[in-house]
């Protein structure tokens, strides 16, 4: 029996499982750091987007437009190969986490802005009239209500984020995709390599996606 899925190729893949496990570990670690960065950027810039301050609003618009309308591949390539020419040499893990974090930060900013804008305006007016400052009202009244609306789309963002860390394969990032490429391109046993890799991504993302569906049902949006 031969072909891309020959039995001996599966055996070889299973024998070298440590390589795939290593990649999976890196993918999970990068995803977690990137998600934290994306959430911080997203919440701050999302709030900027709903602000009445024109400058803050402008910052939100520029950031979201630039990041959403350029390919992630180029952004990561820039961090990896251009910054060193300016004397900044970030480790590849950092490049992956920051690159993907910045990218999804822009999408999360939109989710956050949408969530806040969906909270009736009377809530903010009532809070202000009760003596809350804008920041306090945001923190105690608006955001807690908005979070409920934001959770399902945020979870979907987390799923996309995990998949997008595969961009690190391009910059020798040691993630799951890179390990699969590296392993399979040497021996050319690409069949099992990509099936196993696909399954591992599915294993990471599917529970999250199903969690998002559940949340959507619960909040009724």
């Amino acid at each position: 029996m031969n072909g891309p899925f020959a039995a001996f190729k599966w055996k070889a893949a299973l024998r070298d499982w440590v390589i795939f496990a290593d990649g999976l570990k890196t993918t999970i670690a990068v995803s977690m750091v990137a998600l934290a960065i994306a959430l911080i950027i997203g919440v701050i810039l999302g709030v900027f987007g709903t602000s009445h301050n024109k400058i803050l609003k402008k910052i939100n618009r520029v950031y979201v437009s630039v990041i959403q309308n350029t390919p992630l591949v180029i952004q990561v390539f820039f961090l990896y190969n251009m910054l060193p020419h300016l004397g900044i040499m970030l480790p590849v893990f950092t490049v992956g986490a920051i690159g993907v974090g910045i990218y999804h930060g822009a999408y999360i900013a939109e989710v956050v802005r949408g969530g806040i804008e969906a909270v009736p305006r009377g809530q903010m007016e009532a809070a202000i009239s009760q003596g809350f400052t804008y920041t306090e009202a945001m923190k105690h009244i608006i955001l807690p209500q908005a979070v409920k609306l934001m959770l399902p789309p945020l979870t979907n963002q987390a799923v996309s984020l995990i998949k997008n860390t595969s961009v690190m394969a391009m910059i020798a990032g040691g993630d799951l995709m890179y390990q699969a490429d590296s392993w399979s391109s040497y021996n050319l046993y690409y069949g099992p390599a990509y099936v196993i890799t696909g399954m591992l991504y599915l294993l990471l993302c599917l529970p999250l996606a199903r969690f998002a569906t559940k949340l959507e049902l619960r909040t009724g949006v």
């Binding site: 029996m1 020798a172 490429d181």
Partner: protein, 269 residues
């Protein structure tokens, strides 16, 4: 529970695919005495060959004329002439290290002549002809790095191409010298060059012949060459008549001195 179902469904799809892969890979000789794999090419009237288009002197598309030319192109033409009696009944498809295996498996190309190094592992997946060229792994470094040999790369990072055999070759040499090096793999040669330029890696290492295409004013190729790599023409397992014909052609070209002439023609060292 639904998640489990999806996973099982996914697995079933995969095994379904593997079955299709098996059934389509079996080839039998037809009753007319001519093997089916050769007949299919004759019926089509054109030989489909996977070649490199980014390796000067081996397989390179001239951006001015848009024509693909090189040592391996000439060999492929000789094989087309052998099968179809006309060296122009040939169709080239650009391949890289990552696509050449899948293209063979799916039957989109009949043979691959693309600086394809013969290894024991690869022989299990594809038929390889006898080697038509032997090349060593070379090292390209920045001039201002002051690196003169492999020893000078102790503790440094070396950029290699995915699927290239250079990683193993250099690692073995490094072990002999008792030095430590680490490897970063990229999928294309320009990406490795960009990483060398930005200082992400200290050395660009692939087969010497390929390295020549990336030499510029700021870089230098070191004199050392490691673990000779044999290039062979690959074809799909099962197409055994084609593999034999390819091998016979290579053998004839070697015996007649044509291969040596081609190497001289293209100025390959």
């Amino acid at each position: 529970m639904k998640g489990v179902k999806v996973l099982i469904l996914g697995l079933l799809m995969v095994f379904g695919l593997s079955l299709i892969g098996c059934s389509s890979s079996s080839q039998k000789a037809s009753s007319s005495g001519e093997a089916q794999d050769i007949k299919a090419i004759k019926d089509r009237g054109v030989l489909r060959v996977g070649v490199k288009v980014d390796v000067p002197k081996f397989g390179y598309r001239d951006p001015k004329t848009n024509k693909i030319d090189g040592f391996e192109i000439d060999i492929a033409r000789a094989i087309a002439k052998k099968i179809l009696g006309d060296e122009n009944k040939i169709e080239f498809q650009a391949v890289n290290a990552k696509t050449r295996g899948p293209l063979l498996d799916s039957g989109q190309v009949d043979i691959v002549a693309a600086t394809f190094t013969i290894t024991e592992e690869r022989k299990q997946s594809y038929n390889f002809s006898d080697p038509y060229f032997t090349d060593g792994v070379g090292l390209l470094v920045k001039k201002d790095s002051g690196i003169k040999d492999l020893k000078g790369l102790n503790g440094k990072k070396i950029g290699v191409a995915q699927s290239a055999t250079s990683k193993k070759a250099i690692q073995e040499e490094a072990d002999k010298l008792g030095i430590k090096v680490s490897f970063l793999e990229f999928s294309t040669y320009p990406e490795i060059k960009a990483a060398l330029d930005s200082g992400r890696i200290d050395c660009f290492s692939v087969d010497g012949a390929i390295l020549n295409g990336y030499l510029d004013g700021s870089t230098v190729i070191l004199d050392e060459r490691f673990s000779p790599q044999n290039y062979g023409i690959a074809s799909k397992k099962g197409n055994d008549a084609l593999a034999k014909l390819v091998n016979d052609t290579i053998k004839e070209m070697k015996d007649s001195g044509e291969i040596d002439n081609l190497i001289k023609k293209w100025g390959i060292k």
